[in-house]
Symmetry: none
DNA sequence: CTCTAACCGAGACGGTACGTCGTGTCTTCTT
DNA sequence: AAGAAGACACGACGTACCGTCTCGGTTAGAG
């Protein structure tokens, strides 16, 4: 049963190299060399580069988001969005996150990791919306998932497809627009 | 200046292979074999797989969107979103589009293609918003780019990150939510 | 000192595999799998594939020759040669024997096994020649070792280097030629 | 059509390494490194280690034998045998020759090389026997192939299986014995 | 209607990484 | 004491593409 003895070393090397050389520059041989482990050892435990990346990311909790509780939905959403924007643009996190999300579109293995993560995060965000409903900040019939799609999607499009880091003003603007739609 | 005599063949083979075997399965050698052209001929004209892909996609106008004019902003936006959703999920288009957008995150060359495309499309969408302003469907101070970020981003997140094809009801819901925010 | 408890199983598996897949196809891992023994167990008792092969062959007495006593040197030699030819060409024995003799040329360990075997067999053949001397079938000054070199060598060259199985007529011819030289 | 540009380098490296590290120590990667050629280049032209070895040996004419014409069959045969003995025991040639002959027993590809060589050499030796017949040194009904089998086989058995280099006295003894059988 | 420049095919190559197999070693746990 | 179980470093395997180079042909438009 057991598992790889040097798993931590291997995961660490994987993420280091990912940030340094990017998804395509990342090779199993490179990870082996960096982690001081033999190539075959990696193949023993992970069937593919993607599987390795996936487990490294899960273990490292790369996409971790602190769930805010600021007292208002507006504050909570702005906090969330700023964190997402930081993940997508921060020098440390951006290579890893974009690699993951980029590859997820054509790599079933990583797609699954991402889907699981999004489902899980949505579950953890629900209380935020429940608090908002109790405070009367949200009219009935608004699906939290849709709200998160809109806001996270906007930041994502801005940062990665338009190539414009989402600044605080932009975050406020999008949250404001969506919140108006959620109350009116 | 000129250009490759067999450019059309090569572009066609590129897109065919892209849909068949995906971004990573796509190789210059494969394109050469499929298009009946020698490998060196491809290298003569395109410095990289991404450059080739980029030019093939531009030429094929893969991301083409018909700009609607339905008489109402709601109708226009729903039409746009449905088209985007179709691109992201259609059996013919999805492999190409996701390959492009996935690779764009870590491939400067393709990122540039995407950014240019988005900027251009936004420009072509502006008249739609100007008509809406004239019709009084949009309060002042709403940035069309932000609206498109929100809506396109939501569809994108749904389709590619959550793995749930955006159905018509979802499209209506998001447009409704955003439009409420645009008028209130 | 002791010895492996499962030595017989291991030896059996070794020879089976040798006949099935040949010298180069024979692997320690294969022997372990076939004999139901752990790889480390084999390494505990034999330092190398060759050592294992050597001991398996010695134990199995693969090169065993019945020493004939037909009443005449001609009959004795023909009997011996036929046995050698059978060893070199028989479907069961040939893979083992040729593996051993082939490897002996560049594997000290197996070379030693072979040399010991040849020396031993010569010793057991000597009485045959002594009987012949007593019967006056052999002039003085003929070295039995040379006679055996000539005859065994001829069969060996035929069978393995020329790729022509030595037929009975051939055996008779060579024995006749050498015997003429031994009496004249 | 063409062929490998660096064929000579590769063949040279092959034979050098064969003498230095033996048949089993010889690797394609080693040959590539020694010859300054890339591994794939070797695989482009030779499907296996054996094929490479075979062509290297054919080209190098490793088993070359000068055909003597001393005026007597005895002289011719002694010359031949001394050459064979030298091939089998000389510091330069022995590794190559024993590797070839050892591997020939279980490597079809090399077996074919050896068989072709022996057939060819026998053809070139025939005139020697025809001269002997004309001189009356050979009775009718003696097959030259058998004579060569006996003599070459004896030297071979001595050198490689008994591990005793065949000295001149031994060569004379075997030739004498066989020649007696050929005339009586 | 040629001639010349642009383009192409072919063949060979050095190179990186792949994913696999087998080696021989080591430690720990089980009879 | 012997063996089973599992992890490992290591070396080589044979393969796929990469990107580059040289050489010799083909094509097609400008003179």
């Amino acid at each position: 049963m057991a598992g790889a003895r040097r798993e931590r070393d291997i995961h660490a090397a994987t993420l280091e190299l990912l940030t340094e050389v990017g998804y395509d520059g990342l090779t199993i041989e490179g990870v082996a060399a960096r982690s001081g482990v033999n190539k075959t050892t990696i193949y023993r435990w992970w069937p593919s580069k993607d599987a390795l990346l996936g487990s490294a990311m899960v273990e490292a909790d790369v996409l971790a988001i602190r769930l805010p509780d600021t007292g208002s939905l507006r504050g909570d959403l702005e906090s969330l969005l700023r964190q997402i924007a930081a993940l997508l643009t921060g020098p440390d996190t951006s290579p890893v996150v974009t690699a993951l999300l980029g590859a997820a579109t054509h790599r079933p293995e990583l797609g699954e990791v991402v889907r699981r993560f999004f489902a899980d995060r949505l579950g953890r965000e629900l209380p935020m919306f429940e608090r908002a409903v109790r405070r009367g900040e949200l009219r009935d019939g608004v699906d939290p998932a849709t709200v998160m799609d809109l806001l996270a999607g906007a930041v994502w499009v801005r940062a990665l497809l338009r190539g414009q880091p989402p600044r605080p003003a932009y975050v406020r603007e999008t949250v404001d627009l969506v919140l108006r739609g959620c109350t009116s």
